[in-house]
């Protein structure tokens, strides 16, 4: 029998609400880290693994994804799109691909960066085996993920985000291999109105040779919360990849660390310092004397003269006024009723927000998109999108 082609189905339809405000205008997989969307790293891993047919499941703000990836030519792959109009879980997302799938396929998350080697291993196992395959990795905080029971060959159970103590740090890595038989299994597993892929798999673990496990210890970058972006950004910045060719560096006084990724159309004023683990997107302006460090700056943003921006995310077209300080000490941040301690995040500034001169963002300030602030304000918590922050 000839080698069957394995298609890669990448799930990229979700909103990613925990990453608000960055996901108000773009799906989570399109958040740029090291100047490229998360999803691009996933597409690249698939392409490097030798799979050249990708089905992207898109929904929320899908035009951003279609625009960026087009037909996949730039990555040497063929990309096809299917739409998940309403968000009814990962199982539902996979079902959307059913009409275009007629052989073995693998499933990946569009916002989780894995190595090509893993993609290749899962694809090979899928090409050969009839049973579902699931990649397993380990995490320091397994209870935030799907905790996996594993007997060395097969998956014995999958428990989503258990709120009780667990015996293992093995988790579901979010890379699966299936035959088209999985579609029927998903349809037969309805939990709480959502079709969860893991619930369907969990039911299959009871059967003989139910679900194969592949253990994986390589790079596995997950963005659950805003501050994870900075870790993932640092992880993906290749120290060799500093690109400053066309950017407007105005004087020799500019200092740019080795581990910085800069788009070719960045304008940098005199005496600017761009410190390590920083990504600066296209058409960004960094004005004189500004200091930017461990920060992601999205395209079109302006960092004003003398501003100090550390441990921060500055979204598209945001304006950071002159002498603004964004800097924090490890602090406690609440996201969707969950309290996170000791988080190092200076602040997040949403799309098109305008931070007035001399303002201070500290201890995890999260400023929504389109927010405008007066000069000199101090922000240390969440500001809703579109709000105006007055001094007083």
């Amino acid at each position: 029998m000839s080698e069957e082609l394995v298609t890669a189905v990448i799930l990229a339809a979700g909103e990613g609400r925990r990453l608000e405000p960055l996901t108000n205008r773009r799906p989570k997989p399109m958040i740029p880290v090291a100047n490229r969307p998360l999803l691009e790293y996933v597409v690249e891993a698939v392409a490097e693994a030798g799979l050249d047919h990708i089905t992207l499941v898109v929904g929320y703000h899908q035009e951003r994804i279609r625009n960026h990836f087009g037909d996949g030519d730039d990555w040497g792959v063929t990309i096809e799109y299917v739409e998940q109009a309403t968000q009814l879980g990962t199982g539902h997302a996979v079902l959307q691909a059913e009409p275009v799938i007629d052989g073995p396929f693998i499933v990946l998350n569009g916002d989780r960066v894995v190595e090509p080697a893993l993609v290749k291993r899962v694809a090979e196992a899928t090409r050969e085996g009839e049973h579902p395959t699931m990649a397993i990795t380990t995490a320091e905080t397994p209870r935030e993920y799907g905790v996996v029971g594993f007997d060395g060959e097969h998956v014995t159970e999958i428990v989503e985000k258990p709120d009780w103590p667990v015996e293992t740090n093995r988790i579901n890595a979010g890379v699966y291999g299936f035959s088209p038989a999985i579609f029927e299994a998903i349809r037969n597993t309805n939990t709480n109105g959502e079709l969860a892929l893991t619930a369907a798999l969990d039911e299959l673990t009871d059967k003989t040779d139910g679900v194969n496990g592949i253990t994986y210890t390589g790079r596995w970058l997950d963005v659950s919360n805003l501050w994870d972006l900075l870790t993932v950004n640092a992880g993906l910045i290749d120290t060799e990849a500093t690109v400053v060719n066309e950017s407007r560096v105005d004087s020799a006084s500019v200092s740019i660390a080795a581990d910085v990724v800069m788009a070719d159309s960045v304008r940098v004023g005199p005496s600017v310092t761009i410190g390590g683990n920083t990504a600066v997107g296209q058409n960004v302006t960094v004005e004189a004397n500004a200091v930017v460090e461990n920060t992601i700056v999205f395209p079109d943003a302006v960092i004003g003269a003398g501003a100090v921006v550390r441990d921060a995310v500055v979204a598209n077209n945001a304006r950071i006024g002159s002498n603004v300080t964004i800097e924090g000490t490890p602090s406690t941040i609440v996201i969707e009723d969950t309290v996170h301690h000791d988080i190092e995040l200076g602040g997040v500034v949403g799309d098109n927000a305008d931070i007035g001169p001399g303002a201070t963002l500290t201890t995890g300030a999260i400023v929504g998109d389109d927010v405008e602030t007066d000069a000199g304000v101090i922000i240390d918590s969440r500001v809703a999108a579109g709000a105006t922050v007055r001094r007083g």
Binding site: S2, E3, E4, L5, R25, G50, D52, H53, V58, Q62, E63, R66, N67, F69, G70, D71, G72, D73, G76, V77, T78, I79, E80, Y81, V100, D102, E246, R248, D250, D264, S265, R267, G269, Q282, N283, T285, E287, A288, P299, D300, A301, V302, N316, N317, D351, N352
Partner: protein, 621 residues
């Protein structure tokens, strides 16, 4: 982005074949026609030149190639042609000339090659091939000469072994298709650039994209990097590291249209959404904000700008409206009289000194016949000429003294969208540059304009984020009898462009006016069935325009406005917010009008990318 198609008849011997799914009931098609149609299917990738090589047992290689339209390629009638290869080229570095078009051949013309990608070490290879005669400035041409060399050193070598040897020498990314006189095969190699093989019942295909041959077969095999494939009358053999491999066969289930457009229904919508990116390219490296100046490629003789008395802009259609926008900027920022002429009507009129007149041609394609005619008349009169165009190496760039490229990337939809925005941005930078040279604008004044330009991509993205609201408005008002677009000052060219966009793709009656003109006639056309769309941006006298809109509303018309952040008109039926970017706000407002036109036309099921009777690049006068 280049395109490749190769075709080999199965069974051999016959000069014609029936196509597997010919809709006309199996009419015999010539090899050349099948390849030519494949190239037309690849047009969406953008191109500026095309070529075909046909191979016959007795006729040998017959090559035809030229810069210009794929349609205009005159495919020779080669009766015994059994296979052949075609190529579309989109130049990004180096001009699109007949010589640079593919296929390229070796010195004796026995081997012909088409290539997609880049040969990074072509200079070193070319130096090594010093005794070979090169006829183009492409990197690709080293490949046939390397093949010639490989065939010469080893008498046992054939096309396949030669390519395997040459492949080891090439650095970079490539997809190659090669043919040789007296050889009934096409040999292809993939490294980095996509190549897909099609397996029909009575023919085999290879192409850079399945859309090239989707009408003939849906059974395809995707080649992997390092693969070499041989297509002949017996079918396809794929080799990896010299050993045959089975890459499987996949059945393509999707439709050609969707594959080409990255999932968008129309190029126009794709290109509307590309505007933030294309505008970033337009301004990249050109704004020296701190210095209050611009870095442009265009140049003028010393002293020319100080003495210039008039800038004449010649352009047609959408480019003409970009010109009308720019004329206001030239007067305001550069302090020089500026006029806009419709290219076909342009004459170098009396009362002007040619040496103190600058004529600016604005043309997306650089091939617009009317505009070329106008530029030739300006040159004949002795005026200084410049071009603002999207297309490297286009005819207009050879006719003018100096050129500035708008860098918007290929635009396929017939209705110009992203190129309008990039044309205006480029012309605005030119106005700043001329203004600084003439001392009519201060560094601080220039800096304000440059900051507005810098903010343009982000502002356009904000508008695109509102597409749902525009779609709703298009659904609510789309079935009206007629549409009137109004604005003042910089809003006038945008009103004209908004009306043009709607009429050309939806076939609805749409007209643009200076708002003040409404009451001098057109008001008679206003009824409750004729919505008014208004550009109400700061600096374009929005209050006065709103007065005219209110006059129309009094007659029952609905009103849709594109309104700057610091304005508010509560009587509008629909208000779209335009972010604060100063003199380029009307360009941002225009993106709303583009999306409105698109969704009105789309709701009516129009052929948006190829409206009836229209062509993308009008190369006839």
């Amino acid at each position: 982005m280049c395109g490749i198609i190769g075709y080999v008849q199965a069974n051999g011997g016959h000069a014609t074949t029936t196509t597997a799914t010919a809709s006309d009931g199996g009419v015999m098609k010539a090899t050349g026609d099948i390849i030519h149609e494949g190239l037309q299917n690849l047009e969406y990738r953008g191109y500026d030149s095309a070529g075909i090589v046909l191979v016959g047992e007795f006729s040998g290689l017959t090559i035809t190639k030229q810069s210009g339209e794929v349609n205009e390629l005159d495919v020779p009638d080669v009766a015994d042609a059994t296979h052949g290869v075609g190529h579309t080229r989109w130049s990004t570095h180096g001009p699109p000339t007949d010589a640079n078009a593919h296929p390229h051949t070796d010195c004796i013309g026995d081997v012909a090659v088409v290539h997609n990608g880049i040969v990074e070490n072509h200079e070193a290879l070319k130096a090594e091939l010093a005794d070979h005669k090169f006829t183009s400035d492409t990197d690709s041409e080293v490949i046939p000469h390397l093949i010639e060399e490989a065939l010469a050193v080893d008498p046992d070598a054939d096309l396949l072994t030669a390519i395997q040897r040459v492949e080891a020498r090439l650095e970079g990314s490539y997809g190659i298709c090669a043919v040789r006189e007296g050889d009934d095969r096409i040999v292809v190699a993939r490294h980095g650039s996509p190549l897909v093989v099609g397996r029909g019942d009575d023919a085999s295909f290879v192409a850079s994209d399945v859309t090239a041959f989707l009408e003939h077969t849906r059974d395809v095999t995707y080649l992997e990097d390092g693969d070499v494939a041989v297509l002949d009358t017996d079918g396809v053999e794929i080799l990896s590291n010299g050993e045959p491999v089975d890459r499987g066969v996949e059945r393509v289930t999707w439709e050609a249209d969707a594959a080409e457009k990255g999932g968008y229904n129309h190029y126009m919508r794709k290109e509307i959404h590309e505007q933030p990116e294309s505008l970033r390219q337009t301004i990249a490296g050109r704004l020296a904000v701190d210095a209050g100046n611009v870095d442009l490629d265009i140049s003028f003789p010393p002293g020319f700008l100080a003495d210039v008395e008039e800038i004449q802009i010649v352009a047609c259609g959408t480019s003409n409206y970009a010109g009308q926008y720019a004329a206001q900027l030239f007067e305001e920022l550069a302090g020089v009289r500026a006029t806009v002429e419709i290219s076909s009507e342009y004459m170098f009129g009396a009362g002007r000194s040619p040496d103190q007149t600058l004529v600016v041609a604005v043309t997306q394609s650089g091939e617009t016949a009317d505009t070329l005619g106008a530029i030739r008349r300006a040159n004949a009169a002795g005026a200084r000429t410049v071009a603002v165009t999207n297309t490297l190496g286009s005819t207009v760039t050879r006719e003018v003294d100096s050129t500035e490229f708008i860098r918007a990337g290929p635009e396929i939809g017939v209705a110009a969208t992203k190129t309008f925005a990039s044309q205006v941005a480029t012309l605005a930078m030119l106005a700043v540059g001329i203004g600084r040279e003439r001392g009519t604008i201060s560094a601080a004044g220039a800096r304000d304009v440059l900051e507005d330009l810098r903010g343009l991509p982000g502002a356009v993205q904000q508008v695109l984020d509102n597409e749902d609201r525009v779609r709703e408005a298009a659904t609510e008002y789309g079935d009206s009898e007629a549409f009137f677009f109004v604005g003042r000052q910089l809003g006038v060219p945008v009103a004209l462009e908004g009306a043009l966009k709607l009429k050309e793709i939806s076939y609805d009656h749409a007209e643009g006016f200076a708002a003040g003109e409404l009451k001098h006639g057109p008001l008679a056309l206003i009824t409750p069935e004729t919505p008014v769309l208004a550009v109400l941006t700061t600096g374009a006298r929005p209050d006065e325009t709103m007065n005219n809109v209110t006059e129309a509303q009094t007659r029952g018309a609905s009103a849709i406005g594109c309104v700057s952040t610091d304005c508010e008109y509560s009587s509008l039926d629909v208000a779209f917010n335009v972010p604060d970017v100063g003199i380029v706000e009307p360009i941002v407002a225009n993106v709303y009008l583009q999306m409105f036109a698109y969704h009105v036309a789309n709701n009516k099921g129009r052929a948006i990318d190829k409206p009836r009777n229209l062509a993308k690049s009008v190369t006839v006068e």
